[in-house]
Amino acid sequence: MELYEIVTYFVLLLLLSTALRVVTTTNVIHAAVSLVFTLALTAVLFLLLSAEFVALVLILVYIGAVIVLFLFGIMITRAPLGKNAELDNDKNKKAGAVIAFSIFLLFSYILINGFSGEIAIDQATSTQLLGEILLTRFVFPFEIVSFVLLAALIGGITLARKDEALIDEDQI
């Protein structure tokens, strides 16, 4: 086994365990932080797959913005901090486990049957090329995504505003 493979296996193992932590821990903050670790490990995996730009985007956007947003959300919704046994819905655990496991089996069966072999990565991803493709071939989805972000921005602000700023009902 090459070093490359060992590292990859190690990363995958860590990935699994942190993801497991996300969904099973009873501490809300621990779950969020575990997600941070999962995302970070995913970025490492991307680096191993020589998709550097995506890894960086992951770290910047995902960990940098989304997780922060999550933590803000946790704090605003007064999630009970510390160990809290009520975090899981016990009734759903069995059924959820069965369904999740069956989905896992299904997907792995499909994927294993579909793909096999090894890949050889010989060069890094050219970020310049990525930028060019993004702005020539994928310019239309690019612009649309910016619209989506605009909509999300406006929507988020509108939704989260305090009520007295909205029009009162008896003025209509």
Binding site: G96, I99, I103, L106, Y109, I110
Partner: protein, 671 residues
């Protein structure tokens, strides 16, 4: 058409025409009364004369047409018959049609004339009576039915006309049916006729089966040309047909309906029970005369026997009657006996000649009696009397009719009665001849008695009699003209036109035609009539006053028998009607109530029980339960299914994913 000179002494014409247009359209005579009967039914009540004008117009046109036919027959002679086929039963063709020959034309003329005068009389007589419009409908229907009968070329049409006149007779006799007696009288007439009709129908069937045809002319042809098949059944058929004639023409013992039929209004009695309906039997025998003369000779003996019995029996009863119309009724029965006896002795023309004259003077007598009854409002002669002063015209015409009936020259009855007596003498039937002469005496006697009780003497009643209206007396005067002159058309040795008329037929009539008067018969008949009149006048006017005259001749046992009409009605009731009523009718009634009704009721009970069972078991327990279970089940199912909607997002996602997994597995591994 061959025009032949009128030969005064001619026998039946050798050459005759086919009648041309008049004969071809003679069906109008038959059809017109039915159409106008319908018209009167539907529009009569709204008309100013309440339908009488339609009836008068109809019968007037019939009179005119029949007179035209008679004139053409006198000048040229018509023998023709027309057929209209309406289908067939097996090998027999059912045909209707009309005959235009001597016998039929004579009958048309009689019906037309007498009916016209009776109709005119009736418009006044029945004024103000109940059901005036319906009365004229029935009278017109009757005229039509009689014409159907006398114009029929097939036995089927005779039967239909026969039954139709029976129905009309029933309707008219029972005109005042609110009184039970009248409806019973109508029923009696109808049922008696129906019993006689059995004979007629069986006779027709026998004739039809043995000749293979229903056409009268063909049956007569086969009778006179020696066909084998008809020879075997001739006697039987002849007797059976005569039984039918007995019912209609009131021969003993089936005459019992005619006196009771006087319950109807007097115009009805005058028209039907004097001139037309009761002569249907004589007409039938006359129409079938070649058959009788040809091969059913023995049947004629029976015919003659019954005719003679009738004429003397009815005549005797007439002496003891106190009801004016009943006297005339029994007189009619008696005169019908004369006609039947004449046919029985083979005197075709004599019988028809007596029919002809009798129609006129008997109608006259009845209408006169009606005029009297209209004035004094009672039928009983015991409450009349002395009406000569109050009703001169009625009295005169009644006397003319009486003398005609009694048979004094030169009135009509003399010639016809004389011919009958002459024929009886010629055949050598001495016993019957003597009985007939006695009958002539009796006729004159009871008629004189009737005249004396009604018109002579002093008025015994309580009313205020007065002469009748012109519309009633004018027909009387016309009829008296006929009563005087009708006999002059057949004077042996001088002018025998009538013989020529009635013997001009498709099948030749073989009979004896007297060359001159038979003086023996003539004088004995004349003497009998004169003695009868004088004896009657003596007893009822001269010796004692009218109502006491009875006492002079009352021989107690005979008088009682006569008054009870030979106990014939009692006999019928005791041995025929009551046994049928009490045994058969009761048995049938009990069968009907207990058996048939029970069966039908049980059907109903079973059906309703079944319905109840089905309702309870199937409907309530079965189907309703099923439907209820369906709806409850759906409700429960829905109630359980709705629990899926918990509102919890995670459970929705769970179910969704479960479905995804299932379908993916299905697609991967099964499909």
């Amino acid at each position: 058409m061959v025009i032949d000179k009128v030969n005064l002494l001619a026998e039946s014409k050798i050459t005759y025409g086919d009648g041309g247009v008049l004969a071809e359209y003679a069906w109008i005579l038959v059809v017109l009364p039915f159409i106008s009967a319908l018209l009167i039914t539907f529009t009569g009540k709204k008309l100013p004369y309440k339908g009488a004008e339609i009836a008068l117009a109809t019968i007037g046109s019939i009179f005119v047409y029949s007179t035209a036919l008679l004139y053409q027959h006198i000048t040229e002679g018509i023998v023709n018959e027309f057929f209209v086929g309406v289908g067939s039963i097996g090998s027999f063709d059912i045909e209707f049609g009309w005959v235009v020959d001597g016998l039929s034309i004579m009958m048309y003329f009689v019906v037309g004339t007498v009916a016209l005068l009776v109709f005119i009389y009736a418009t006044n007589y029945m004024k103000g009576e109940i059901r005036y419009t319906f009365f004229f409908t029935s009278l017109t229907l009757f005229a039509g039915s009689m014409l159907v009968l006398v114009s029929s070329p097939t036995l089927i049409q005779i039967l239909i006309g026969w039954e139709l006149v029976g129905v009309c007779s029933y309707l008219l006799i029972g005109h005042y049916w609110e009184i039970k007696e009248n409806s019973s009288a109508a029923m009696k007439a109808f049922i008696t006729n129906k019993i006689a009709d059995i004979g007629l129908m069986i006779g027709i069937i026998i004739l039809a089966l043995n000749t293979g045809t229903l056409r009268i002319s063909e049956i007569l042809y086969q009778s006179t040309h020696d066909y084998e098949a008809i020879k075997n059944v001739a006697f039987l058929a002849g007797v059976l047909l005569f039984i039918g004639a007995m019912g209609k023409s009131a021969q003993f013992p089936l005459h019992v309906w005619l006196p009771d039929a006087m319950a109807g209004p007097t115009p009805v009695s005058a028209l039907m029970h004097a001139a037309t309906m009761v002569t249907a039997g004589v007409y039938l025998l006359a129409r079938m005369f070649p058959f009788y003369e040809g091969i059913a000779h023995e049947a004629l003996e029976i015919v003659m026997l019954f005719g003679v019995i009738t004429l003397i029996a009815a005549g005797l009863i007439a002496i003891v009657q106190d009801d004016l119309k009943k006297v005339l009724a029994y007189s009619t029965v008696s005169q019908l006996g004369y006609m039947i006896a004449a046919i029985g002795s083979g005197a075709y023309t004599a019988a028809l000649f007596h029919l002809w004259t009798h129609a006129f003077f008997k109608a006259l007598l009845f209408l006169g009696a009606g005029s009297v009854i209209h004035a004094v409002h009672t039928n009983s002669m015991l409450e009349m009397g002395g009406l000569r002063k109050f009703m001169p015209r009625t009295f005169t015409t009644f006397i003319i009719g009486t003398v005609a009936l009694a048979g004094l020259p030169p009135f009509a009855g003399f010639f016809s009665k004389d011919e009958i007596l002459a024929s009886l003498n010629h055949e050598g039937e001495t016993t019957f001849l003597i009985i007939s002469i006695i009958g002539a005496f009796v006729t004159a006697f009871y008629m004189t008695r009737a005249v004396a009780l009604t018109f002579l003497g002093e008025y015994r009643g309580h009313g205020h009699p007065h002469e009748s209206d012109k519309m009633m007396t004018v027909p009387l005067m016309f009829l008296s003209v006929f009563a005087i002159g009708a006999g002059w058309v057949n004077i042996p040795g001088i002018y025998t036109g009538f013989t020529t008329w009635v013997t001009t037929r498709a099948n030749a009539i073989i009979e004896h035609h007297p060359e001159s008067f038979d003086y023996a018969a003539l004088f004995s008949g004349l003497a009998a009539g004169l003695i009868g009149i004088s004896l009657g006048y003596f007893i009822y006017q001269i010796q004692a006053s009218a109502e006491n005259g009875d006492k002079a001749i009352k021989v107690e046992p005979i008088w009682t028998v006569l008054e009870n009409k030979y106990y014939l009605d009692n006999f019928y009731f005791k041995y025929l009607i009551n046994p049928t009523k009490s045994t058969i009718s009761n048995a049938i009634d009990r069968f009907n109530t207990n058996v048939i009704d029970r069966i039908i009721n049980s059907f109903g009970i079973v059906a309703s029980f079944l319905g109840q069972v089905v309702y309870n078991n199937f409907d309530q327990k079965g189907i309703d339960k099923l439907l209820n279970a369906l709806s409850t089940g759906t409700d429960n199912l829905g109630g359980k299914v709705k629990l899926l909607q918990t509102g919890k997002t995670q459970q929705y996602i769970m179910l969704f994913l479960a479905g995804v997994v299932t379908i993916s597995l299905l697609i991967l591994f099964i499909i």
